[in-house]
């Protein structure tokens, strides 16, 4: 099986492609608060509707959903946490043909950008 990550067409991406246990591989804060839970997160678990945000010394749970807007040619995630509600635009999704490995790029309205890897 090829280990090559291929770009997924974001206009046709199935919602379940975005679910899974994601590891924060890379992050650019821009103007985001560096002390926020999201800025500290090391893992992001998206299963069913449940969201779990893991950091080295804390854990937050909430819910998530995939949303679409006709003005955007790609989906965005709506994340509900106890302290805040966030939205993150999916800027890129790459995965192997068998889906065993994937890479997800998110852009938050705070300016925070994240690259998530799975596994």
């Amino acid at each position: 099986m090829s280990d090559l990550l291929l770009d997924v067409n974001l206009q046709q991406v199935p919602d379940d492609y975005l679910a899974g246990a994601w590891r924060v591989a890379h992050r650019v804060l821009n103007r985001a608060d560096p002390a926020s839970a999201l800025a500290q997160a090391t893992n992001l678990l998206l299963s069913g509707q449940a969201l779990e945000l893991q950091a080295s010394d804390q854990k937050e749970t909430g819910s998530w959903a995939v949303q679409r807007d006709e003005l955007l040619n790609r989906p965005y995630l709506s994340l509900s946490l106890p302290t805040e509600d966030l939205r993150a635009l999916v800027t890129r999704l790459r995965r192997t043909t068998d889906g065993a490995r994937a890479q997800l790029n998110l852009y938050f309205s705070s300016g925070l950008e994240m690259q998530l890897d799975r596994p």
Binding site: L71, L72, N73, R74, R87, T91, Y107, S109
Partner: protein, 298 residues
């Protein structure tokens, strides 16, 4: 009345005619006995070398007139002809009386008697200095062209007027991993991507027929099976009458450029999406504030 004129076959007339002919033709003419000792030189020989028949005593006289680099080879080939009776042919340099050497084509044939024994060797030396220099200059230019063609960054090729490619540079063979024999027998179709082949063949056939310069970006298969994108450019070469005689073509690897172009396009698309996303977020915020405002007013 002169007897030789009255009888055109008289031996003295033939001898005179031979002498005239031998001195008239532009070659140096010589005759030897079966052992290779000279019996005759024409006037041109004597004029060019400064050697007369009397000076030619000794087996190696003529050999000493040769350029030192040609002597051993000439001795070996002439010796072989004398020993076997096979026709003699060689290119060598003869020293001129005036100084310097000139290239000659030496040729000789044996003349046999009724018993089949060699009576004499009849030989000529034709001045080929100009042709030789032209040939050397051509070979030098060809070597320079090959060096240039093999060292340019592009894959290069030349095709006949009908589009049949008859020459590729070394970079082509290095990139594709093919040999000249394989390219001659299988053609270039095997190097193309199957998904693009039909389109390329159609385009190129049309381009050959039009006879105008053309460009096409296409993928070519590398020796390891990976495809890379190349910008192909072909220019028609015409003779003085304007007749298309050949095509000169190059393939420039533009894979990196295409990747950068794609990255740039993706970046623009991402930026556009981010701006739209931010605008939507602002819209959500505005709607939220309106609701709060309406609620407080109510």
């Amino acid at each position: 009345m002169d007897a030789s004129i009255a009888n055109p076959h008289s031996s003295s007339l033939i001898e005179n005619e031979f002498q005239f002919l031998a001195d008239f033709i532009p070659q140096l003419v010589w005759i030897t006995d079966p052992a290779g000792d000279h019996l005759y030189f024409n006037q041109r020989w004597t004029d060019y070398t400064g050697y007369t028949l009397a000076d030619s005593v000794g087996p190696d006289m003529w050999n000493n007139l040769l350029h030192p680099d040609d002597r051993a080879r000439a001795r070996q080939i002439w010796g072989h002809s004398l020993a076997t009776g096979e026709d003699y042919e060689i290119e060598y340099r003869f020293k001129a009386k005036a100084g310097g050497y000139r290239w000659f084509l030496g040729q000789a044939k044996p003349r046999y008697d009724a018993d089949g024994s060699i009576v004499t060797w009849f030989g000529t030396c034709t001045d080929i200095q100009d042709q030789k220099l032209a040939r050397e200059m051509l070979a030098e230019r060809e070597a320079e062209f090959t060096t240039l063609a093999d060292n340019v960054a592009q894959l290069s090729w030349m095709a006949r007027a009908d589009g049949h490619i008859y020459w590729y540079n070394k970079r082509w063979y290095d990139f594709t991993g093919t040999t000249p024999e394989e390219m001659a027998s299988k053609g270039w179709e095997g190097i193309q991507h199957p998904n693009h082949l039909a389109e390329i063949v159609y385009f190129v056939k049309d381009a050959w027929d039009k006879g105008e310069p053309w460009e096409l970006t296409l993928p070519l298969k590398r020796h390891d099976g990976e495809y890379r994108w190349f910008l192909t450019r072909a220019v028609p070469i015409r003779d003085e009458q304007g007749q298309l005689v050949r095509w000169l073509g190059t393939n420039t690897d533009v894979t990196k450029m295409r990747e950068l172009q794609e990255q740039l396009q993706n970046s623009y698309a991402d930026l556009e999406a981010k701006v739209t996303f931010r605008n939507l977020e602002l819209e959500h915020e505005v709607q939220k504030l309106r609701k709060q405002l309406n609620a407080s007013v109510a």
